[in-house]
Symmetry: D2
């Protein structure tokens, strides 16, 4: 693809689930959106030579490296896209920023507040030099979520009274489901809380334009030991025979308050049998309400409290009109988008910000704030669910 | 209606919303169910003579009284049905039981644990004399709820992991909605917590067959002053000009644990704009899940985790088959029931228990246990949401 | 119940499914609605003395007769409610009208156009003498249906372009489901077409305020022979051993045109496995659309085409507000009604019209028009689906 | 992307909506599926040089041509992908096949049966020389549709009794919506019937594995004149001032029969206000039922008639499990696909068939059969809806 536009040369670290989603986004964005810079899939990084070579061929990357430090030394890489487990985010992202590379870092930003704090400081220093950073809360880029935020910003909901948010999965309901790095605290930082709870913390703050000010939390690990699996990738440390210890939460529930006074209820779990990836958010205000479920991701339900009672009702808005965020670039009305489109929209927003010299959003500071909420949930849970300020 | 069956002569105290629902139930039950005793709508009690006379004519009661004490002295009344605000429950119910009358008492059982405790003790003493008592958690008698309980009892859900329950209303979202006795602590005991939160506490305990062992709570009164309304009935003390002070919670959220270890999240509110009477319960177990929403009350969603993944999914069971609880007495499959049918089923179960000499369920002890949960929520909320054992 | 109002003494013929529904309606209406006349459940008619006596006791009728002719001779009966199979409607209804009794006749009005024509003429003659008649299309009285009609009448839908209507049941999907009078042409007139197809013909004409002008039809009997059942009632002629011949349609599909030019698609079947009583109606106009499904009977979906695209969507109106048809007499918002409430509303409208001296609606003429549509469907189906004018 | 696999060099004619969708599919398929041949986006064809050059840059095509005949002369093109209006399909596709190019042709296959017949004959001749052809009914490749077909094939539905299918859009509801080539008979062949009705004819035949044997149809053009739009592309002949004549149907409704005896009801319209791209299919069999709505495209509803009545219900299967058609190549369970994925799956199946030397499906003969059904609908509509055999 010859575009005549300046290139943005990308180096991606990691090629599992997230790496594949990011690759598709980098490839696809310029074909649907008029980007100011042309992304090049320059270098893919993985620890095992033959595996990373195979992945690069499959995912469309021009070259490979087996040590991420090498990426930072290359002059032909402008942006580092970090798709590794959370325990490595801080080291990689800070080094990349210091090497003058823009950074896109998967969520959660880090495994601890201290790491996230250090990353945010590095991001601030880098921004002063025109080096940009973003954390990958891609669900913000689902058009229905963008519409929800817009309605709140326009005052269509009035004062926010209630936030209820659930992220429900069921992939380890079976006690015989094997260990993975996502179940180890030293790799993943936390379990459902950080992996999926982080998303609903970010989304509800994003939609409402408010921050969570305090929480009361409760965590649970229903299944404490699981069989070890055969090695499934270069990043897994939990392969072999016998059983491994689950050191993270299987489920997290917490109450919260938003800056505007709203009451909030959050639930993140991998044990909601029958719910595969159900992100459900409902927000009630004094003038209107919105409801969203990722199982029906192209739809936003909106209740307009100014309608007369006779004809008031939650409107099922099929968020596929040109007026809706990101949609005009895609298909005619009614032709829905899928999971991966959020990643493409993330690329669009990131590339646009870099070209404009703007700080992209969500920033590392946003990621740090989410991390602080997660940390407060853990501290509350460890202290009799006592209310814990952020 | 001449039936040849022994009569059960009923005296009803109160004729507002609940009184009308109970009247319809007493009238209707014998026409659809083969009851062992025939209910007679004998006496209606209210404080204002002309109003109670009008209500008796409209609701189908043979006689009236203006003082509930008189009811207890009458030999021609076998059962006292208490549909007054919560602050009067204890006095009336205890006196009725001591007078040898069976008692059906609306929920919440009382406004305080102490009152509920006294009522439960009175119920125990009365039961020794064959005098029966029941608290009116009618939503237990929605067929879909009965089916949910049956599926849990049969082991179709396995070990319960998650309970999430919401009772969402919006009738005082508008700050100009007037005062009512339901917003005064001395009449109502609490607000959303006791009025509707009590239902989801009872329902989740009923369906799971477990008890809540501890909670962490948060309460909120969004609108602290409201205009006084013109008097709307003999029981309202809040009429007149000016504003009144709201002394109860507008919304209550709390985390909980069940005896089997499940994590629970509860939310009761009168500020969920657009949700009129949405009782939503979802329960996830190790083998299956169920989900219910009273806005679609004839439906239960059931996920059977033993189905192969290819064809697994939440089944939308239209709970109108003869195999379903209570349904065989009504209409053919697909012809749904409404809100008031739960009250009719309550009459059926109560009359049956009285005739058999069984203790009806839910008992005053069940009502007391719910009250203890509500009390723990209030205490937790007053103490930084600290975990509070029941 | 002493009301001081003049009585309307009712005689009901038939006490199966429809008889039970009508009985509940006559009993219940005066307790929720302020009727100008007080209905008395005076006489129940059935052919078998002990059965009709048992039914009268159960359903609340004061007296019984075993010959419907006797009913017409009684001075203490003001209205005859005809709940018998369709082959007897004409004879009974005409005789009753000629005897000066008001008549409520179940649908379909008759088994043939000729019968319906004679009934309509009798109704016209009777009306001149102040004797009223109504045909029992009770689904008109579901509040959501009433709201749909109101929206059309107010012009909220603009010009009607499309009508699609289905009435789906599945109770004889199993070839071993036994014979019943509903499967015999000489008793029932037709099968799915007249039994349930009649409802969607009436409902769509009622909502749109238009008439069907022509049809193209197709009928099918999937299972032509069925086992005979043991006698299940005095009206069944199909009891015994062996098999019986199904002489009616199992399913009917037809295209149609409305007076305003709309295209219509209708489907009535007893073979839609999994659909118990699904009456589904969607109407698209130039300015708005409505959609209804009786499986969620308290809901009407409304699309307002004047909304901006960004927030346009089908509104899920929970039709339980005081502003909605019939609802103010019942429960607070969100407390839904059930199947039988339509019958109660029918009583309300009928009694009101009689007291006012108005002709009730739907009239026998309306029933005749429905019959003409059904007849045209049958004639079209018998003639290569050729377009057949009404 | 260097793959070491043999290339399949593609030439695409047309770059509007369909051209963009096909481009995305050709680009994306090899990154998620292990294809036996590697597609190269070799040549894009359009009539206006600068426009086709712009489109090629945007959509990722290496070279351009402005005359499709040139494409057939090139040795470096293996497959011709025809995304032009229907009136040109026959000429292009036949010439391409005769030039030894594989052909993928958008639906409907042609504007007339005669054209489709000629194309099918050309395809048969070409197949004898190893040249393959396929018609682009991409909705077959939605995973939920594939699962529906699989369930029917496995006998889970038993004998098919009912097929009801709707394709509802609303993009020309407004009488001021401008003319386009899709509203001109000489370009488009027909209106809603061929454009979207073709899809539901194909899908229902595909899912059931049966053919439609006869129809009774009715067509309508609600708005006969529309304003001319400014030219919107090289293929539109309807630009300018004033009004243009709509010469195709706005809506088509028809009854049908399937080979197995099922009754069918079809509806295709561009006037269903509020429905953007609602493809709704429900199929009822003697043992089970399925229901699909493209507005919720990752879901299939399945009713298993062998379940006991107590727990029977339509299962909402989220069709995102590895066991489901095409899904294993994409994301984890619960992460849904979008509209364009069907095109990617089409590429996968076509490339696989070409590599294996199989005839791809759906074939031109399948497209011809659909065309015959559409033609029968038109003939029936022109002859009083008389039943017309296919």
């Amino acid at each position: 693809m010859t575009t005549g536009k300046p290139s943005l040369r990308v180096g991606l670290i990691g090629y599992a689930f997230m790496g594949a989603a990011h690759s598709q986004a980098w490839r696809t964005a310029p074909h649907f959106f008029d980007l100011p810079l042309h992304p090049e899939l320059a270098v893919l990084v993985g620890r095992t030579p033959d595996r990373v070579a195979e992945a690069a061929g499959r995912l469309g990357w021009a070259q490979t490296e087996t040590d991420w430090h090498r990426l930072l030394e290359r002059d032909d890489v402008d942006l580092v896209d970090v798709c590794t487990p959370g325990d490595t985010h801080a080291e990689i992202a800070i080094a990349a920023l210091e090497a003058g590379k823009h950074v896109l870092c998967e969520k959660p930003l880090a495994n601890t507040v201290a790491q996230a704090q250090a990353m945010t400081e590095a991001a601030t220093r880098a921004a002063a030099n025109g080096v940009r950073s973003m954390v990958g809360f891609t669900y913000r880029r689902v058009p229905a979520i963008g519409l929800a935020r817009r309605l709140v910003a326009e005052g269509r909901l009035g004062d926010i009274r209630h936030v209820r948010a659930q992220y429900l999965q069921d992939w380890i309901t079976d006690p015989q489901a094997p260990m993975s790095w996502r179940l180890e605290k030293d790799k993943a930082g936390s379990g459902a809380l950080g992996d999926i709870g982080a998303h609903i913390v970010d989304l509800t703050q994003y939609i409402t334009g408010q921050r969570i000010t305090g929480v009361s939390g409760l965590l649970e690990t229903f299944v404490e030991q699981r069989p070890l699996a055969a090695s499934t990738g270069s990043l897994s440390g939990a392969a072999g025979e016998g059983v491994g210890q689950v050191t993270v939460d299987d489920a997290a529930v917490f109450l919260g308050r938003f800056t505007g006074g709203a009451l909030a209820v959050f639930e993140a779990t991998r044990f909601a049998l029958g719910r595969k990836n159900a992100i459900r958010i409902e927000i009630n205000g004094s003038a209107g309400s919105v409801a969203f479920d990722f199982e029906d991701m192209n739809v936003l339900h909106f209740f307009d409290g100014t309608e007369p009672a006779e004809t008031a009702g939650f409107r099922r808005i099929v968020v596929t009109e040109p007026e809706h965020p990101y949609v005009a670039a895609w298909w005619p009305a009614g032709h829905g988008l899928g999971y991966e489109h959020g990643f493409t929209h993330q690329v669009v927003d990131l590339v646009t910000a870099i070209a404009k010299g703007d700080d992209p959003s969500p920033s590392f500071a946003d990621g740090l704030q989410v991390q602080r909420v997660l940390d407060a949930v853990e501290r509350s849970a460890a202290d009799h669910s006592t209310w814990t300020e952020i």
